[in-house]
Symmetry: C2
Subunit: 465 residues, 2 copies
């Protein structure tokens, strides 16, 4: 009997402290033993009635690829409007975004070692890459294994060559997000550096943890003042290993043929849905990217984030939470091939002088959640740390990261505290930006658990900030 009283007493006290807390202005750390029941309610609602998984099936299997400036993206926006409504969003609107029109067209890569025959290699043109105008571009391949080597190359070495950048993801780094960012940030993807030195083309080893031969897309970067924009493409890991081996003993030629071309700009839309706040007009924003690559279902990247954001709204409605602040979902246009959607939204927030108090992103795939990365002031971070114990039963323990992924990152310039869902990353870069990123790679419970923890975090922010 004593034991029961000991448990009930702190619960009662903390409830009392919490209701008192609303009266003071500055948010304070939540007292111990408080929100367990609310967390469980949210979790039960999502696991029992969550629609995120079925929604993801509709988006990936029903609509499929939804690359910017394509009919697939237009279908995705219509679907998003309908589903935000079904989730319970009260205000839904579309926001005009100017996006580049880039058409992949036909593409092929052949290689020839020494006096051997031409051999087809599986490849993908990089997003926004120039093509070869449908003509064969043939040149000797020059192997480059790391960043310093690339930077040190002289014009004489580079001139008229096709450069093969063979920089693998480091398998010894436990978080694949970290190893990916190291490889991607190394600027190896810049076609500008070597274009200026007279290279004819760029072949890049795909940034992936997989060991098969599927190529993984990426956007190419030219500098604004680049006069020569060289064609850039990527090949799978097996082809890269094979090419590396060949190049160690002999001359290898590449024959690239790409009809890829940029055709100006068009209008796409961010899709926005919200439940207005009952107390004030402050905004808590959740975001995910609505587009995918032109050949990909984009199930983990980022169909998962899209349906999880919708699930947060649905759960708030289903549990009849009367949210203090506006809870808004923004589904961004063209995240993969330029990022105009996120810039447009950030500019809109600035212009309208909307007060955003928190932004949450989910763009690392629908895997089991492990934490929230907090890209905000130490003061703000310390307001969230005391909530850790509520999250622990849901597998969320990591609040130590301080990054936010691209779609919410422009909001940082507006001093908005950012958070990003941290998930188990071991599988992500096996599929990322490839044709393998399909619905069957997403596990229903992992996806729902992520949506659960996102809802729990938004709930805490809404009640306490």
């Amino acid at each position: 009997m004593k034991k029961i009283l000991l448990i009930i007493l702190p619960l009662f006290l903390s409830g009392f402290l919490f209701s008192q807390k609303k009266l003071v202005k500055k948010p304070k750390p939540v007292p111990k033993f408080n929100y367990y029941d609310e967390f469980k309610k949210i979790s039960d609602e999502v696991f029992l009635h969550g629609t995120a998984y079925d929604n993801l099936g509709e988006l990936t299997k029903g609509i499929g690829p939804r690359f910017s400036a394509t009919p697939g993206y237009t279908k995705a926006t219509e679907w998003a409007e309908k589903n935000l409504k079904e989730a319970g969003a009260e205000n839904i609107w579309k926001q005009e975004v100017r996006v580049p029109v880039w058409i992949r067209g036909k593409e092929s890569l052949q290689i020839k070692a020494g006096n051997g025959d031409w051999k087809n290699i599986r490849m993908l043109s990089f997003g926004n890459s120039e093509g070869t105008g449908g003509k064969d571009l043939t040149a000797d391949i020059l192997l480059v294994n790391d960043v310093q080597e690339l930077v040190n190359l002289t014009t004489t070495q580079v001139k008229d060559k096709i450069i093969f950048v063979n920089y693998p993801i480091d398998p010894t780094i436990v978080s694949t997000v970290d190893s990916y960012l190291i490889a991607a940030k190394s600027k190896l993807l810049s076609a500008s550096v070597i274009g200026k030195k007279g290279a004819k083309g760029l072949i890049i080893r795909s940034l992936t943890t997989a060991t098969d031969d599927v190529p993984h897309a990426k956007q190419v970067y030219y500098e604004p003042d680049d006069k020569v924009k060289i064609p850039a493409l990527t090949i799978g890991v097996q082809s890269a290993n094979e090419l590396e081996k060949l190049l160690k003993t002999q001359t290898v030629k590449a024959k690239i043929n790409m009809t890829a071309e940029s055709k100006g700009e068009t209008i796409n839309y961010n899709v926005i849905g919200e439940i207005p706040g009952k107390k004030d007009n402050k905004i808590i924003v959740l975001g995910a990217q609505l587009d995918s690559w032109d050949f990909a279902e984009g199930a983990h990247d980022d169909g998962s984030g899209v349906v999880q954001c919708m699930e947060v709204l649905r759960t708030f409605k289903a549990l009849s939470y009367s949210n203090n602040h506006t809870i808004r979902v923004v589904l961004y246009a063209n995240s993969e091939n330029g990022g105009q959607g996120r810039e447009t939204y950030a500019a809109y927030v600035k212009k309208k002088e909307e007060k955003h108090i928190f932004a949450l992103g989910s763009d690392s795939g629908g895997y089991s959640p492990r934490g929230f990365s907090l890209d905000m002031s130490p003061q703000r971070r310390r307001l969230i740390f005391p909530w850790k114990e509520y999250f622990l039963p849901y597998g969320i323990y990591d609040f130590d990261q301080t990054y936010a992924i691209q779609d919410i990152s422009p909001l940082k310039r507006l001093d908005i505290p950012l958070a990003e869902m941290v998930v188990d990353t071991q599988r992500y870069f096996d599929y990322h930006h490839s044709e393998k990123d399909t619905f069957d790679k997403v596990n229903k419970r992992e996806l729902l658990l992520g949506a659960t923890t996102m809802t729990q975090l938004i709930f805490m922010i809404d009640k306490n900030w």
Copy 2:
């Protein structure tokens, strides 16, 4: 410069404390800032040179199903001996285990609602179940939804019926290991209770988180004094839902035909390999089950555990660790259909009076690790807690559980401290004990990360206990 000194000093001091510590008898918590480098060495070795994934391919695709008392299991033991040798085990031997011979044979289930037609339903006989002697067993089905209902059934209600136990796994429990154990422990799988009351047969809804129609196997339990052993089988979730719906409005008959039969006993083997201790004869034992169900590759259950245990030995050898205590791997016979392997090993340890100081199991699938469950005295647990910070960069944060899974559990009777790898459980019961538990469901990095953390834990035990 000051910063560097501040870091180096504690490292030096803690190294000093550690070497002093070996002189005293009682193990003490490890001082801060110590084993980071060793942990990283282990991780790098496993991620760069680990053979666990390729070994799992051999076991699942090369050998395939390895049910006890079948040629598949014999092949698996030969393979295990060879691979333990390759991993660097110095002593390798086989341990005789008497196992039951049970042959599934042909099996079918049909149902007929009202005056409708007979319809085939996908099913699996339960392990060790009696058959129908190849004859049709036809009877009305009685639906039972929970444990209490089953226990309360009267002889009149049960007599001559086929009982359909339709108890689902609770989707709202975050850890699927917990929800599975609740459903499994509920004794719903006992054919004895209803056999004694005159039932003719037992149909059980598969214990799975999946929503498809694949049946998931389980072993049936008869009481030793059971004179009537009724046939028991399982059906997938979709069939279970359909059957439940039919039974709510009409009489449904089942026609079971199973040639399953038990044919006495035979000899199988536990396979054991070890690296002898350089300091003493105390033993640290790692275990996994070598067998699988007769229709299953058993990739997660428990091929993953088998190759992870081998990886621990291989890594100790590759890093030239001079282990203080003997590090032994035991691969258990017939874990799925009786558990004779684990009992034989425990009896051997007792008889030989071997001093085991620690037992670690990995039997929850090759998913990303999240912690170690510690089934040991609070005093022992407190010796491990200070190591948490070393494990955190590898995603290991949960040391709060206190269970151990079946294959190492008999060692508890000998007062041996037990630990079990805790992994991300969301996907496990989608595949567990079904034909879907195949090699392609295992992610290489997740499997290797598990092997890494197992090696790290064994390293810490070896150095500090």
